[in-house]
């Protein structure tokens, strides 16, 4: 497919095969979407972030296979050989007289290795955060919240590292484009670059797309059943039963029946012990009903579950340990929402979780299930 004679036009040489170029530009889009949705967009965009992450994962798997079967300059062997020339290349670069390279120059090759390694780390930790913290995706049945939290730290750290690497990568492209008058961006679009004949490999190894397709299919065939089996596992520590009927009826008569996982045991016990003065109202229940509800709340309090809200809302406000909306985590997560929005119809109250959280009664509180409804200012 990539016979040399066919691809050299005058002093322009065929360097980047089509799969590598497509990989590059689709990855650019995927990383841009992932960075935007990860750093800037509201939490409800998590679905798009995950989609970008899956796409990047597929691209990386493809690229690792293409390291073996791509055209000469897309191969791992070329990358390694270039990195080995780094000790001679760097001093020349410092003198602003870097030698021409076909394909990535040694510094660029090192950058590619770093980018692929960092992206792989981001993707792997991303799957772990998705499973452990968000209780979604292939690892939801395997990882607990603590593992997801550790992965979350690495995910953020490596995403910040990626931002730095991208900046250096772009700077490197700019330097080579200017210093050597090599139009690298155009090269990554057309595949061809003007180069001195002596740097071009006289016997480039051709791409083997059929072999790559075979290996990629084999990976897909092996991974699909494993992924499906993992997806069938129930999410770890996620409540699945509907709310207790007595609890939903009695407590839900006056306010949203908060999922029991949103307060720790001690808080529920204190609430149930003082129903006669319940946030300024008498909410007394018959002893039998109260005992049944208290037992239900104790069995299903924050300590009993491993969802994100259950984990985070175990820490209550010292001054108001009974009020979910006073918990530091609750306040932090709702900081961007003004008092007027909470007061306006159809929300009306901070306690009306279900107005914005479509899955509030399940206790999951998925990021994707958040939709703040259009509000009308409160009438006179």
């Amino acid at each position: 497919m990539a016979r040399h004679s066919e691809h050299s036009l005058g002093s322009e040489f065929f360097i980047w095969d089509l799969p590598t170029r497509l990989f590059h530009w689709v990855l650019v889009i995927g990383v841009a979407v992932a960075l935007y949705t990860g750093f800037l967009a509201p939490a409800s965009w998590l679905g798009i972030h995950l989609f970008a992450g899956y796409a990047i994962a597929v691209l990386i798997v493809f690229r690792l296979v293409w390291w073996k079967f791509g055209f000469e300059y897309s191969r791992l062997a070329a990358l390694v050989a270039a990195i080995r020339r780094l000790p001679q290349f760097l001093p020349a670069l410092i003198r602003l007289k870097p030698p021409h390279s076909a394909g990535h120059n040694p510094a660029g090759s090192a950058m590619i290795a770093l980018l692929i390694a960092t992206l792989s780390l981001i993707v792997v930790t991303g799957f772990m955060v998705e499973g452990g913290q968000e209780k979604q995706g292939v690892l939801a049945g395997v990882l607990d919240y603590a593992a997801g939290s550790t992965a979350r730290n690495l995910h953020s750290l490596s995403a910040n590292l990626l931002l730095g690497l991208i900046a250096v990568h772009l700077a490197g492209v700019a330097v080579e484009t200017v210093l050597q008058r090599t139009p690298l961006v155009r090269g990554m679009i057309s595949g061809r670059l003007p180069l001195p004949l002596h740097v071009v490999n006289p016997a480039p190894r051709p791409a083997r797309p059929l072999a790559a397709a075979f290996i990629l299919s084999a990976i897909a065939v092996a991974a699909a059943p494993a992924a499906l089996a993992l997806l069938r596992l129930p999410a770890r520590g996620v409540p699945s039963a509907p709310l207790n009927l007595a609890y939903a009826t009695e407590c839900g008569a006056c306010h949203n029946a908060f999922h029991p996982s949103l307060l720790p045991r001690q808080s529920w016990a204190a609430i149930m012990a003082h129903l006669g003065d319940h946030f300024g109202e008498d909410a007394s229940l018959s002893p039998a009903t109260a005992a049944g509800i208290a037992a239900y709340l104790d069995r299903n309090a924050a300590e009993a579950w491993d969802t994100e809200p259950a984990n985070r809302l175990r820490s209550v406000a010292a001054a108001e340990p009974l009020r979910i909306t006073a918990a530091p985590y609750w306040i932090r997560k709702h900081a961007g929402i003004g008092a007027a929005t909470f007061a306006a119809a159809p929300i009306k109250s901070k306690t009306n979780c279900a107005a914005c959280h479509g899955d509030a009664t399940t206790g999951r509180f998925d990021d994707q299930a958040i939709a703040i409804p259009p509000t009308q200012a409160k009438g006179p």
Binding site: G252, A253, C254, H255, N256, G276, G280, E281, D282, A283, S284, L285, S286, I347, K348, S349, T351, N352
Partner: protein, 138 residues
């Protein structure tokens, strides 16, 4: 023919349910009436007028956030009310909500809670009967 039969078939249970509801309400009112007589020998019958006054009065002794019945139930008992936490309350007027005051346990529970919240004490049988009589007239 069929539709007429269907209408009758539906009407009979509807009347039955309404009659049952009405019977439940009568039972609650007569029990309150007996209690009111026991509490006060001069008591004769419940007054919708007194019930209305009680319903609208801003009471003292309870929680400052909820001085009156109409704080949550609104000034028109035929419309939906709203709890302090924003939850909707079905209308209290029997005309708008025929199931009101038909379940003695429910009536006891809510008078128990709300009298304590609004007045800081239990309501007397006479007060409860007056309120129910007023809401039956709405």
């Amino acid at each position: 023919m069929t539709s007429r039969l269907l209408f009758v078939a539906l009407l009979i249970p509807a009347i039955g349910v309404a009659a049952l509801a009405s019977a439940g309400r009568d039972g609650i009112v007569s029990a309150l009436s007996a209690q009111a007589k026991q509490d006060n020998s001069k008591f004769t019958s419940f007054s919708a007028e007194a019930g209305k006054k009680f319903w609208f009065t801003a009471h003292v002794g309870g929680k400052s956030d909820t001085p009156s019945c109409v704080t949550c139930h609104t000034k028109d008992a035929r419309t939906m009310g709203q709890t302090r936490a924003g939850k909707a309350i079905d209308p209290m007027a029997v005309s708008a909500n025929p199931n009101r005051f038909t379940d003695p346990e429910k009536v006891a529970k809510w008078f128990g809670r709300n009298c304590n919240t609004v007045l800081g004490r239990e309501c007397t049988a006479e007060e409860k009967g007056n309120v129910i009589t007023y809401l039956m007239s709405q």
